[in-house]
């Protein structure tokens, strides 16, 4: 699995990150807590404005769905009640899609989740845990689960999956499944395989994310 992450490369926003996983590359910016517009304001908690922008073309319903899914992953891990009547803007820009955009959004989504997590950490917004996400595919006529498939694997797949887990206790324990979307043609057994293998690689990725964060924290402390 090729995964690289980079924190704090944008100067005008509060937190930023760039994540590259296989052929997919996403850059994410987080600003907040800032003053919301009147229609965004929530009386008791932080409002999230989530934007996903495609590499090519105008944002469409596909990006709206990704925004919705990203929101359902991010909402449980942000300490929303610590910032009443404030706003946090999260913008993900897909730089390289790495998949056929019309059929799939799995790789982009999992990259967006990881990038957002890193950018949130960089911004210093209070979180109650971290999260990590992988995309998976099961090829036709096979039961093997492929982690972070390539585009051609996606195209030959029988089913595709995105999994995001909430990690606590030194990123070694799974607190909850934040999100799973499986589509295609698959059996119950395959699904549990996906969950099992996905959990393993999410935990692995959690440690990778952890070391990225740790090296950033270290570098920002003057020794």
């Amino acid at each position: 699995m090729s995964f690289s992450g980079n924190i704090g490369l944008l100067t005008e926003v509060d937190g930023s990150s760039q994540v590259e996983c296989e052929d997919t590359k996403v850059i994410c910016a987080v600003t907040g807590p800032i003053e919301p517009k009147a229609r965004q304001e929530l009386p008791t908690q932080l409002a999230l404005e989530i934007i996903v922008r495609p590499a090519k073309g105008v944002p469409s319903t596909r990006e709206k769905l990704m925004e919705d899914r990203l929101r359902s992953v991010i909402t449980p891990i942000v300490s929303l009640y610590q910032y009443p009547r404030k706003l946090c803007q999260i913008t993900c820009q897909i730089l390289e899609s790495g998949e056929s955009e019309y059929e799939f959004s799995q790789k982009e989504l999992s990259c967006c989740i990881n990038a957002t997590l890193l950018a949130l950490i960089d911004s210093g917004l209070a979180l109650n845990s971290i999260a990590s996400s992988v995309s998976m595919a099961i090829l036709k006529g096979s039961d093997d689960v492929i982690i972070n498939p390539t585009n051609s694997q996606l195209l030959q797949s029988q089913s595709v999956h995105v999994l995001a887990l909430q990690l606590i206790e030194g990123s070694r324990k799974v607190k909850n499944v934040l999100f799973l979307d499986s589509s295609g043609d698959f059996t119950e057994q395959q699904l549990f395989n996906v969950l099992e293998i996905g959990e393993k690689s999410c935990l692995e990725l959690g440690l990778t994310l952890r070391s990225i964060i740790e090296s950033k924290v270290k570098s920002s402390f003057i020794s």
Binding site: L9, L10, T11, E12, V13, D23, K25, I27, A29, T31, I34, E35, K37, E49, I51, R53, A55, K56, G57, V58, P59, Q89, T91, Q93, L95, E96
Partner: protein, 305 residues
């Protein structure tokens, strides 16, 4: 812009005083353009331009479409410059009606599209029914001034980097050859327009500027974000290497003497030459790199016949 960045009067005064003493905040000379870095992505038509902290990515893509009825021999070409809060919270998502956004979009449009930098007629496939539609999406990633200049470089670099799939036409049947099947073809670039933006500051009072003879206004090239926020006027000159003025835009702002504006144009030409050479060189390097890579690949995957 959604909301403005707040700047104190002290900072404003300080900046002006520094300019009077021939100093810029970042230590640059008045007519010093920031170093331009161009990086290309893995896919065709992906260029990222970095100038100081300013970062702009341009992504070119293509599809097959029907040409406009009144222009059956021409392909389609769109440039989209949508802002998002990524570049800074002052930008609203997808809002194209802000003053600066409109000016930026129009200048890029005039500089690249209307000036015919891309050979539109070369995009025709079957006259009147099929043509290539080329799209350039400009993504503003980080804003520290000079968006117009950086975007223009990014668009041109991405267009030059882009390859569209090869096609063959048998009568009216069009076959699009996948990229791994046949070598994709580059776009026809007719000239390379380069935008250079000048910012004007008035160190005296308004009366002196309008009525006075001193022409003491200060002109700097390639302003940073802070300088942009505090400037009194702006001029964007677009030129190409053929000594053609492609576009000039000074939409109001501080009145400037015609002769000093002419000087700006001449200064811009020098910068245009440098940046044009830089783009061409970068494109050459990149394609060499890619060729090397491709030849390794093709030798491995030689087809059995």
């Amino acid at each position: 812009m959604a909301k403005d960045i707040e700047i104190s009067t002290s900072e404003q005064k300080f900046l002006l005083e520094a300019l009077r003493q021939n100093q810029r905040l970042d230590g640059r000379e008045f007519d010093q353009f920031r170093d331009v870095e161009i990086d290309f992505g893995k896919e065709f038509g992906d260029a990222t331009v970095t100038m100081g902290n300013t970062k702009v990515q341009c992504r070119v893509s293509c599809s097959i479409a029907q040409p406009y009825e009144d222009r059956p021999f021409e392909g389609l070409f769109f440039i989209s410059t949508e802002s998002s809060p990524m570049a800074g919270p002052q930008f609203e998502n997808g809002n194209n009606t802000g003053e600066d956004e409109v000016l930026c979009a129009r200048i890029i449009e005039k500089a690249v599209r209307r000036s015919g930098a891309l050979d539109i007629e070369g995009l025709c496939i079957v006259a009147g029914s099929k043509c290539w539609a080329i799209r350039a999406d400009v993504h503003f990633l980080n804003c520290d001034g000079g968006f117009i200049d950086a975007s223009c470089i990014a668009v041109m670099a991405a267009l030059m980097h882009f390859r569209k799939p090869d096609i063959s036409v048998f009568g009216e049947q069009v076959t699009v050859h996948p990229v791994d099947e046949r070598e994709p073809v580059p776009l026809g670039i007719l000239h390379i327009p380069i935008c250079v933006t000048f910012s004007f500051f008035n160190p005296e009072d308004t009366e002196e500027n309008i009525k006075g003879e001193s022409n003491s206004e200060i002109t700097i090239i390639d302003a940073s974000l802070k300088e942009e926020l505090l400037r009194d006027g702006v001029l964007t000159v677009t030129l190409n290497k053929n000594r053609e003025v492609v576009q000039v835009s000074k939409a109001g702002g501080l009145p400037m003497d015609a002769l000093s504006l002419m000087q700006c144009c001449h200064k811009a030409f020098g910068i245009t030459e440098q940046i044009t050479d830089l783009i061409i060189e970068k494109i050459k390097e990149e394609s060499k790199e890619r060729d090397k890579y491709a030849s390794i690949l093709s030798s491995e995957n030689a087809r059995e016949t």
